[in-house]
Every structure is written in structure tokens, then in C-alpha cells.
Assembly symmetry: C2
Homo-oligomer: 306 residues x 2
């Protein structure tokens, strides 16, 4: 399956207890597409300004990501986000957000991007997500991410957009906030009642939970000794997940469990260095090796090491 992602392309300034970067490549569509690139061909759609140069394009094209639908807005500047993480990396503070060209973004997909079999609507305004969804009429597998901002300011639009997708990827607080349900099981059921067949609840360092009809699967995060920069972990997770599904061209229960595991593995690498740095050196062999480790780590009936 071909895979298209629409979302933010950004420069990030990030400070964590383990170091900082004043300006590096970031954005939801970037983290997603790099992660997906280990499994399938992916096209990335989003706006950039004059400051988005050859090095940034190369970071994507070196991983085989198709950048033809990156919209260069002449005279504009690329979306900029600045944040800082506390010692407890689950707590982060946004210090600056400059929407720049992203503020006027109206997604226009080329026929090649619009013709994708699989589509990921990264976290952007829900009405824009629905516009993209409508442009990709033939997509058989559509995933969506969102955030608390849209739950609070555009709830109706978000619910309407959720009704047009197959899979929701949201974190546990967002899922509870949107559905006003106390347990994830009830929250996931409410979300599925809105339309999607699958709800993937991201739980950060705890892993992720998958709800499908009456089905449930849960996976812990790969245990890391060092987490340098959690930025983009959720998008890398979704990228590995949908990238694997698109590559397999299947969405049966067993394939989806493997997809979730691949997503979790790629996300675990993503946070081991700043921004997209780890993705630039990562190999499929490293991914497969950690996949096997995670498989053994989560088996109640222990699987011996190969």
C-alpha cells in the first residue's frame, strides 16, 4: 500500500535534562514519515518556508521519503516550536510556538499523494484533517492523531472527522478528556461508536493499548536506560505502526499486533537521541533485533533467546 502523511514540518528547539538543541528538524509529519520509511514508501505533505533548506530535504530523501508535496511558501518561515522537559520527562512545557506558514496551511494534495491507499492525518486542526480525508477518497486505511487543544476548541469538528477515519491514535488523557469516561475500555468504546474500527491509546513510557471491537491488546514500552528527547515519539510510533500495515497490506488482528510492536520499537529508538538524529542512523536490522527482544520481554510463557 502507498502511504501519505499530512501534518506539521517544523524546526524545534528542545531542552531536556540531558542536553539541548537550539534548532533541529521536527514536526509530526517528519517524525511519522521517517519512522514509516523503514517499512514502506511514504509521501509527506506540509508547508515550509524559505528557511527550510537542502539539509532538511536531505534528511527526508535520504530515508527515501517522497517530498514532492512539501509546499514551499516563498517569503515565509517554517513552523517553529520551543519546549522544555522536566527531569520527569512526562512533564513538558511549551515555551514558544510560531505557526508561520503553518498558520495559513490549506492542504493541496497532488494526485499521487491523494491516491494513497493509506493515510495518516497527523495532529492538525480537525477541519483541515477532514479536507485531506475527502481528497483521499480511495484510501482504505486512514489514521488520525489529535490533541487537547482541538478537544477544547473544536470538539464538534474533531468528532465529525473521527467519524471519517479507521484508526484513532491518541494518548490516554486525550481519550478520557474527549469521551469523559473514567476507564480506557469505556473511552475506547465511545470512540469506536463515533466510527473508527480501531483505537490506539498511546501511554508514553507505559506503552500503548489497542482496542478493536471486542478485541484488546496491550504492549509496554521497550525499557530504555536513557531517554534523551521524547519529542515526536507518538508520531514515530504511528509511523512505524501504519508503515508496517501499509507494507503488509493487511489489517487482521495478528498483523495489527505486529504493527503496534514495530511502532513501539521505532518510537523507542526515536527518543534515544534529539529530534530525528537517531532515525538518520537507524537500520532495519536494529529494528528487527529490538522487536525480538520486546517480543521475549512481553511473553508470559517465556520465549527463549534465539
Amino acid at each position: 500500500m502507498s502511504l501519505t502523511v499530512v501534518g506539521s514540518i517544523a524546526f524545534d528547539a528542545v531542552k531536556t535534562p540531558f542536553g539541548e538543541r537550539e534548532r533541529m528538524l521536527g514536526g509530526s509529519a517528519v517524525h511519522f514519515s521517517l519512522a514509516a520509511s523503514f517499512f514502506t514508501d511514504v509521501r509527506v505533505v506540509g508547508p515550509v518556508g524559505d528557511d527550510f533548506g537542502e539539509a532538511e530535504y536531505a534528511a527526508l530523501t535520504d530515508r527515501g521519503v517522497n517530498t514532492e508535496d512539501i509546499e514551499h511558501v516563498a517569503g515565509g518561515r517554517t513552523f517553529f516550536w520551543k519546549g522544555e522537559y522536566e527531569w520527569n520527562l512526562n512533564v513538558r512545557h511549551t515555551l514558544d510556538t510560531q505557526l508561520n506558514v503553518f498558520g495559513e496551511f490549506e492542504p493541496k494534495l497532488s494526485p499521487a499523494s491523494a491516491g494513497a491507499d493509506a493515510l495518516f492525518l497527523a495532529n492538525i486542526q480537525p477541519d483541515l484533517q477532514r479536507q485531506v480525508r475527502e481528497q483521499c477518497a480511495d484510501a482504505q486505511l486512514v489514521g488520525l492523531d489529535s490533541m487537547n487543544l482541538w478537544i477544547e476548541t473544536a470538539r464538534d469538528a474533531l468528532v465529525r472527522t473521527i467519524g471519517t477515519v479507521d484508526m484513532v491514535f491518541m494518548n490516554d488523557e486525550e481519550v478520557r478528556q474527549l469521551t469523559e469516561q473514567p476507564t480506557l475500555l469505556r473511552a475506547a468504546r465511545d470512540l469506536m461508536d463515533m466510527g473508527p474500527s480501531t483505537v490506539v491509546v498511546k501511554q508514553g513510557e507505559y506503552g500503548a493499548a489497542l482496542f478493536t471491537g471486542d478485541g484488546f491488546f496491550s504492549l509496554p514500552a521497550y525499557p530504555l536506560e536513557t531517554v534523551i528527547d521524547p519529542t515526536g515519539a507518538g508520531d514515530a510510533f504511528a509511523g512505524g505502526f501504519l508503515g508496517y500495515l501499509a507494507a503488509e497490506g493487511l489489517t487482521d488482528a495478528a498483523t495489527v499486533r505486529r504493527a503496534m510492536t514495530y511502532g513501539s520499537v521505532v518510537a523507542s529508538f526515536n527518543v534515544e537521541q534529539f529530534g530525528t538524529e537517531r532515525m538518520q542512523t537507524l537500520t532495519r536490522e536494529e529494528i528487527d533485533s529490538r522487536y525480538d527482544e520486546l517480543r521475549r520481554m512481553t511473553a508470559i510463557d517465556e520465549i527463549p533467546a534465539v
Copy 2:
């Protein structure tokens, strides 16, 4: 293996968004011993007052728990705790704590209790825990729980006591607070450096993670539609865990993974009703059935339903 638990025996007043109880049986040693009773013989040690009556003894003895070492302090009153949970059940507020007879507790174990092969030091003052540990010189398997209060007020005593046990059961915040490490992996290594061979990190609704030397295992919580009262879940988890290990008389990696799964299953039942109510009606068949469900839910390579 015989199993002894030393900890609090209490009356609890609990209010949650789903109801309340003004006075019910509770306490760490009670939740632990009821959970363990589904797997092995267990002796409970702790103080009670004149208000601890036949109904309370019966709740324990009906499940086969040996109550001979419950110390009745004439003229005293039983430990009382009152708490309230928010709509987000992860947030709880203590409204009242009356130590009563627990304030003067000096554990004196009978030869039968002190001769146990397995011992659980539920959350009490660390010096008292170590006194109990020293009375049980022959115990081959000793587990310990603690809390933020002792980390803040008796840190040295706690570290010294941790050095005398095999397994630590603490939640993730406590583990981070005690070790001042940002990732669980590093925190667990620091704890193992203090003495224990095994660290079990309780993660509430997210499940639990197990660290042993270079080994790692993680298990999500069984997904529940309704959580009525989370009180005692951690003690029920430890009770199922150590109860199963004591029954098997083994601590190899495969047995420990199964023990953690049984602990998680018993804890999931514990929170479905107030206090110990669910434990009074629970059967081993229900436990085994949910165990199989959880096993299928967590297998990356899907296990078909029997």
C-alpha cells in the same frame, strides 16, 4: 512454601465516584492475605482493637487465612483510614488517619509465623520491617513494599531494610523518588544494587514491570470496564504474586512471569468492588479464566482462544 505477611489490618472509609463505604475491612496485610489465599496457606500478622469482631475474623478465615497471629490489643481500637478518589481514580486524597493500636505495634511472630519459607513485609515503618525480617531467619523468599512517607522520613532505614530482602514491590513514583533516577531501568538497577535480586514496579492502571538482573518483563493491567475502588490493589497484586510463587516453590524466570500475571489478575478483581468484597466471592476458576484472557491479550504472536 508457607507464607507469612506482616502489615496493617484496618477499617477503611472510602468514597469513589461510584459509591462509598463508611466502614469496611481493609489494610495492606488483609488485602495481601486474601489474594494469596487463592494459591497457598497464608498467616497474617498485625494488631487489631476491640472493634475487630467475628465478622472481620470470618472474612479472613473463610478464605483459609490463618489469623492466630493477629494481635488483639485489649482496650484499643483498630487502625482507621478514610480516603476519597477523584473521577480520575489515579488521584486519591487521605481525609483521616487514626493509627490507634497500629501506632504502638511491635511485631511478635509466633514460631509458626516466624518459620515461614516466604515472607511479605507490607508497607509499615522500615525498622519494624527489618525486625520482622530478623525474626524470620529461615525465610527463602522475602518481599517488601514501602511508600513515599518512609522515603521522606526514614530513608536510611528503608535502604537498610531493602538490603535484607529478595523482592521489592513499589510503585513507579516511589522507585524514582528513592533512587533519583529518571528511567525505571536505571532506578531498578540502583535498587538491585541495594541487595534485592528482583524489583517489581507497580504502575497502577498501566500494569507492572519486573526487573531481574539483566531480565525484564512487563505486563499491562487487565482492561476493566468499571473500577469501583482501587484501594488495596497493590497489596492484592503482591499477594497473588507471592502466593503463587510460594505455592510453586520456585523462582525461575518462567514461574516469576506467571506469578506476576496471577498477581495482576487478582488485583483486577480486587478493584471491581469495594474493599475486600470481591475477594469474598471470587473463585480460582474465575482467576484462571482471566489469566488465560490476559495471556491472549498480551501475546504479540496471537494465541487463539481455547
